[in-house]
Symmetry: C2
């Protein structure tokens, strides 16, 4: 493409409302423009990157026998009623009515629609396994759309759905997709990690997220450097140390703690370690209050807690709940708190003579002993893993890093097939629910994640597989210089190499800046001086390496660079 003719509005200044690097660079490089909150146009440069990724995804999924189709974005609300998600999904689900006041929603995901499709078509175990996928625009009315296309309300997603006859089949399908995802993100040149993940509103049994490691990530990945354990912090578990507290149980007593309502302040006030405190947080699930307990040196992991309680979103209790329970915010504890569901972390049950809130303003209990002083409804792992804890697999120390979730695979099991009565006849002619998996890749998000991981202060450093253009010819001059550039341009195009020709009547500085911003892996500068020596200057965007190439060897050199030397 000739830049003189391309719709490529680059910006010198960073727009004010862009917070993260990928958002800034996608705006500045003329890849995207905002239409509304969380709603973006992909300009030609941005759309080319998207198309490159889509091509890689299709190739890798097709290799695994997955088949591409296209499901509607407009979905009858009645299908979501059948699955029970119409209410469950909440305000993130965009809803509308047609001219006849029939209710629809805009698909944020397509489990219902695909299950509805196959329940009418798949009859026998002979038609299984089946894996169907689509690349499509999806809608999710995020509370806080932000970070450009990293968290948008309209976004491009690849979603795949597998159908098997049994658990064993599902495990194979899941592994196939897991492998395909590894191939996809490797081909994209991304540093990524598959991690154990929560299943959220999608539901199901096992799940992995594919995380592109980047500081701007909203997710925290807990991983072990010694073995392959890696999990989203939301779900991560550790072999936490039970700190010996096997003293003899002492008598429960009240202590005045004026204005001391945090663990930190209690540690100071009572001169006791945090692991002697019981941290109690009051939630409400629908109308019912729930008290969650962890040891004072941990935080509550709300995702784990939500899973125990079987709710997707937890709410902190409102003031009236405290009043109704006759307790006080900041001084809540499990002792003598009547008729309430209590979920305690495993480590809490190992504590003795602990400190907890006394449910009265400015008072705490000393010598609280679980079992003796309060009963719990449920004991479970509801604490958040800390850096340095022991890996459950190998005992080595756990680390944490930030990641951007670009893909997720789920073992759904029979959640949707049972709800929508999607069955097949097994080898004995008996109807069985289809065993499903679902597999997503955030297409637009992956492009942003690639930029988060591949940039410097001057702009994008595209991995070659995603690069909208692999080569930029930067022309400094006219006449013979431009003629030589045109010749290179035609040669590269004939070889099927995507090439950008900066033939604009701009100053050299503007051209060099735009080249760094747009980030083609190979920049070739064609100027009068080196051309007089029969040479052009090549610079590799990833490494910064610069060298001269003879005009005669130009094409061969570019081809070998693209094949071997750069990722």
């Amino acid at each position: 493409m000739r830049m003189s003719q391309m719709y490529l509005p680059t910006l010198k200044e960073t727009p004010a409302d862009a917070e993260v690097t990928s958002h800034k660079l996608m705006l500045r490089a003329g890849m995207i423009r905002k239409l509304g909150s969380g709603i973006y146009t992909y300009l030609p440069l941005g759309y080319k990157a998207i198309s490159n990724l889509e091509e890689i995804i299709k190739e890798e999924l097709n290799k695994k026998g997955a088949q591409e189709l296209l499901l509607p974005a407009l979905q009858p609300a009645s299908l979501w009623e059948e699955s029970g998600r119409l209410e469950n999904y909440g305000p993130e689900l965009m809803r509308l009515e047609d001219r006849h006041a029939r209710e629809f929603c805009l698909g944020p995901t397509h489990e219902e629609v695909i299950t509805d499709l196959v329940r009418d078509e798949v009859r026998s175990y002979k038609e299984l396994p089946l894996n169907l996928y689509q690349i499509q625009t999806k809608y999710r009315d995020e509370v806080r759309p932000r970070f450009g296309v990293l968290r948008g309300r309209e976004f491009i997603m690849k979603d795949a759905y597998s159908f098997d006859a049994d658990e064993k089949g599902l495990n194979e399908s899941y592994q196939q997709m897991y492998d395909a995802y590894c191939n996809i993100f490797s081909r994209c040149g991304l540093e990524y990690r598959p991690v154990l993940a929560d299943t959220g509103t999608i539901g199901g049994d096992d799940s992995h997220e594919f995380m592109v490691l980047a500081d701007a990530g909203e997710d925290i990945v807990v991983y072990c450097e010694e073995c392959d354990y890696a999990a989203n912090l939301e779900l991560a578990t550790a072999d936490s140390k039970v700190i010996a507290q096997d003293e003899e149980a002492k008598e429960l007593k009240v202590v005045d703690t004026p204005e001391v309502s945090t663990i930190e302040d209690l540690v100071t006030e009572l001169d006791l370690a945090a692991h002697k405190m019981i941290k109690a947080v009051l939630y409400q699930v629908d109308e019912e209050p729930v008290l969650a307990l962890v040891r004072g040196d941990y935080e509550i992991n709300e995702v784990k807690l939500g899973n125990i309680l079987d709710v997707v979103n937890l709410e902190l209790a409102a003031e009236e709940v405290y009043q109704k329970l006759d307790t006080v915010k900041g001084f809540t504890g499990p002792v003598k708190l009547e008729e309430i569901k209590i979920v305690a972390d495993e480590l809490v049950m190992e504590m003795s003579n602990a400190v907890s809130g006394a449910n009265k303003l400015d008072q705490h209990y000393l010598n609280v002993n679980p079992g003796r002083d309060f009963k719990v409804t449920t004991v479970a792992d509801i604490r958040e893993v800390k850096v340095g804890e022991d890996c459950i697999q190998c005992g080595s120390q756990l680390k944490q890093t930030r990641g951007i979730e670009v893909g997720q695979v789920f073992k759904l099991g029979t959640k949707y097939s049972k709800a929508l009565e999607a069955t097949f006849l097994d080898q004995n002619g008996k109807p069985q629910p289809l065993v499903m998996g679902c597999y997503g890749i955030g297409v637009s998000r992956t492009i942003a994640a690639a930029i988060e991981q591949n940039h410097d202060e001057y702009g994008i450093k595209w991995p070659k597989a995603l690069a909208p253009y692999n080569v930029e010819l930067l022309v400094l001059g006219s006449g013979e210089v431009m003629e030589q550039a045109e010749e290179f341009y035609q040669q590269l195009k004939e070889e099927g190499i995507e090439v950008l020709l900066d033939d604009r009547a701009e100053r050299a500085g503007v051209k060099f800046n735009d080249a760094d911003l747009i980030g083609a892996p190979i920049r070739v500068t064609i100027g009068a001086r080196s051309l007089a020596d029969g040479k052009v200057e090549v610079k590799l965007r990833q490494t910064g390496e610069e060298f001269k190439v003879e005009v005669e060897e130009f094409l061969a050199k570019i081809e070998s660079l693209l094949t071997d030397s750069i990722y």
Copy 2:
């Protein structure tokens, strides 16, 4: 693709609610499935045809310098207010609110969004011309969705928008797109015709529709066989014959015509030709009544009338309008009808001593003379062209045929750029509104239109450019037969030829029926008997031609057939 593994649910029976051939065949061949009224899933076979067409469209548009991008489907309603179309578009526009009660619509077309995009980016005449396009899912809440994907509520469209500095530039851009469309539909192997068209709700000056000629078409194309004149009936004009009526004006008189309220009955009752009658139809535009007049041997063309009155949809007058005007339905005429806007066809003004309704039950006037007996507000061509009238270009006889509109090109001019204040600086540094064109292709509709034009009673006869699979290998047997088929399958795949291998354990009859239904251009039957002679049987779907091919010559023969012999 191996049929044993493909999600290709063919149907023997035609589903009850399918009216037209393409709808029936797309359902039966396993190309589409209905999710809701006017909302369809494209199954793998259907989506492959869609993808083939998209590829052709992209190639031809890119050749003309158009650049692909992707605009959001979710559009802020405020943009449609700016252009004035929010109300204008009516209930066809699907509307929704986000979680903050902000209004949005789902894009049926993208003039507003693209104009909003460029108004912030294009500054100078140097950046023009510009042509941007996208292929995207669009939404239109049709009153009566029908005919499968021919008239859906969610459909795939290619829409392009050109921006020029002046009328001359627009004309060039328009011609480029016109040529690209001809290339696209020619490459698709379709019999089509570009015709003059109305601009409808899009607005603008000139427009052509691209019509695929097919009996199931909802549009009527008026065309001249001697010259290149062709127009949508909605817009077609003819050099109609003024039938000499230059008699001396006689005295106006009333005649009783009990229960005679149609032109046909009047002809019998009064023994006068239809061209002596004035046909008068009462409409209402907003609150105002409008009387339209044509000669009795013509019909009123409501699109032409609407254009004269500058309204998109005309409504027939309600009963109370007749009462208010003191006239009677079936006996309405222009004489002594007070304070009403009258639009008369040109030919009406040439009549003398005509018959018209007397605005009283069971009475007509004789000897009505325009000018003397009534005054008109506007004279214009508002009659519908009849078969056999004279071509306005060459005087030859006009014909009519049915067509399916698969594309339309518009000269928008400055309608949207003025409304949205999208300007550029001209060579004198003065701001000027961008001069726009817009260009659509119904992608899903084109596939259906291709089937309407290419089928027989057994199924689809794909033109090769659109065919999901160009070759089907129909295997009759196992062992050596299957081995040979597998070898062919691999060979064809290596050559990049899309091939379907019917390796299913089905009866021969089922396989032959499915092959005809799915309609690959080349069917190759591999059976034990002919294989014993070292041959396989080839059948061409379009012509029905059958012949044997030596196994050794197989690949060369298939390649030459695909290159030369079939379209």
